[in-house]
Amino acid sequence: MEAIDDMTVAIALTEASPNLLGRIGAYKGMAIVPKEIVEDGTVDTFPVGTGPFKFVEFTPGDHVTLEANSDYWEEGKPYIDGVTFQIIPDETVLLTNLMTGEVDWVDSLPPQRVTELATSGEIIVQKKSGGDYWYIGLNLNREPFNDVRVRQAIAYAINRSDVAAASKWDTATPNQGPISPDSFWYYDYQSFDQDLEKAKELLAEAGYPNGFDTEFMPTTFYEETVRSAQVLQAQLAQVGINADIRTLEWGTWLEEEGAGNFDMYICGWVGNLDPDDYFYAQHHTDLFFNFTGYSNPDADVLLDEGRTETDEAARKEIYDQVQELIIDEAPYVYLYSSDVVQAWQPYVRGYSTIGTNAKRFENTWLDR
């Protein structure tokens, strides 16, 4: 990397990276910070960046206080003097804070209340389908999940609408693939519409005509996975698959997932923007986040190609193929794409919800 002048940086790459801007600027992206604070480590406790707001102070786990950055590159912005992010762990109390006006904006609502609140007229609610997808991860290193027919049987047996409704009420879209229909990269490939007969057939072919016993592993860290597990348990029972539910807290769950101690886990990937985000780390052979043990050289070739192909149309084709392949082989059984839901008081203007869950207040002002 080279600084050409005060306002320009040149980045030289060893291979094409159509994904570059996303990797720098999106949800899991980076910030431009002064070298000194990284070297002395204070970047952790007093970050300095180039955004519309400046860090003032924080109490970890409780709140972060920001004030307007008078040196922001866009003249005149931000309009508000500052933003304080207050952490309120209980959903009901969070909502009460919003309703009483103690806070002006919230980024989570109890999903079962979203529709009612949206139509109440007292607060503004926005839902945007984003880059979040939720799925069942199967352990290909264990029987019977090493047999693709068993995995496909599961994909045929479930009813994604019911799972989505039970887990997220109106804030999720059932999906047989990971990419949301709103995205440019969406590929309409519905090969697993619910078909209990087909599921039973496949199970019989694979040698399990009477089903088998197994276990779901959701986590309390994401309450929705527990609800999903309960619904899925009932659905799979219809084809003879008897699943227990082993619910774990986050730290233990991560340990079990990493060690491969599971049959079927339920989790999600959030903040995905570029198609590479949806597939590479999860399904490429031997990568750290490939917990299912999936390994397909053809998929690897496609995934590597997709990373470096700069022509968008060609890229779309590659990822369409990737989706067909991965959806059919079902290392993941996709459940639904969930929405980003945020709500605010009517006097908050100039803010809108973004599908990647980024929170941008530089255009916001308060009309009161």
């Binding site: 899991k28 762990p89 730290g251 750290f288």
Partner: protein, 313 residues
């Protein structure tokens, strides 16, 4: 007295050492890898190994413990794995909120429990007694999170009298501090009062049955004298004990109420630290709680000297 204090100091240090060791072992042996939790989504196996090594997680547990102990004895409790904040600073940050809540709740509890317990014992079997017992039974049975949420819904959402959650430092805005303190302190205070009422009632009843009280009455002393000097003064020892125990446990943080009221106390700090396997923070929070217990117990024991002339150290 000096001897007593020295011995107390020594035994307290021993207890804290023991606690720090046990907690260290438990939290390290429980499944869950802080590196994995820390690195989140941008990690790969190589990075995990690297960080593991950097943080010394690949060394034997005893070595890691003694490393922590060595630093702790020099006043360095380390830094949070998650935020990088110094543990001592993080714990200190939580103290104003924890102290405010603990003392306010205790005050409310004591103001209710002492009269209620004493009167119900003195008038045992009367309407007052039954009322106090029913109140305390309800209080002990009600879940604190339910009570807290009910208070928030009634006093904040429906009546709009008080803010629903959060904490403001008294130095920043005294009125605001009070307004935020009322609901959580009352939630805990009522439940604490219920617990203490029963103890206090028992303690006083026991005292009433004693021989020296019968003698005092037989001597013809006025009832008020009998009550204050012979019953209550002697019952004050168990009463002070239960109040001390309540205070110590409140100072340790009240996790559930802190979660409901978004109260930045020690309880939540400890819970978040355990959830994320933030070992130094867990050690720091636990040590703080142990110290609170030790100090309160010491104060209660010293109070015994004033209350009971037979006690000498």
């Amino acid at each position: 007295m000096a001897n007593f204090l020295l011995r107390r100091l020594f035994s307290t240090l021993l207890v804290m050492l023991g606690i720090s060791f046990i907690v260290f072992m438990i939290v390290h042996l429980v499944p869950g890898d802080p590196v994995r939790i820390m690195l989140g989504l941008q990690a790969d196996q190589a990075k995990v190994e690297e960080i593991r090594h950097l943080m010394g997680f690949d060394r034997p547990l005893m070595v890691q413990y003694f490393e922590w102990l060595k630093n702790a004895l020099q006043g360095d409790l380390g830094e949070s794995y998650i935020t990088g904040q110094r543990v001592s600073e993080a714990v200190a940050q939580r103290l104003p909120a924890t102290f405010s809540l603990a003392f306010a709740a205790l005050l409310i509890g004591v103001i209710i429990a002492v009269p209620a317990g004493v009167i119900s014992a003195l008038k045992s079997g009367s309407g007052w007694d039954y009322a106090a017992m029913i109140f305390s039974q309800i209080g002990v049975s009600i879940p604190d999170f339910w009570l807290g949420i009910m208070f928030i819904l009634v006093f904040s959402l429906y009546l709009g009298w008080l803010p629903p959650s959060g904490f403001t430092k008294p130095s920043e805005d005294f009125g605001d501090w009070l307004r935020h303190l009322i609901l959580p302190a009352t939630t805990i205070g009522l439940i604490s009062a219920s617990i203490m009422t029963r103890f206090i009632r028992s303690a006083v009843l026991e005292m009433i049955a004693k021989n020296h009280v019968r003698t005092a009455k037989a001597k013809g002393l006025p009832q008020s004298r009998v009550t204050s000097r012979h019953i209550l003064l002697n019952a004050s020892i168990p009463i002070v004990t239960i109040i001390g125990l309540q205070l110590a446990s409140l100072l340790g943080g009240v996790i559930i109420v802190e979660i409901i009221f978004a109260w930045p106390g020690l309880g939540r700090l400890a819970l978040d630290a355990v959830t994320r396997r933030d070992y130094p923070m867990v050690q720091g929070a636990v040590l703080m709680v142990a110290m609170a217990f030790a100090i309160v117990n010491l104060i209660v024991d010293l109070l015994y000297v004033y209350l009971d002339p037979r006690v000498k150290y």
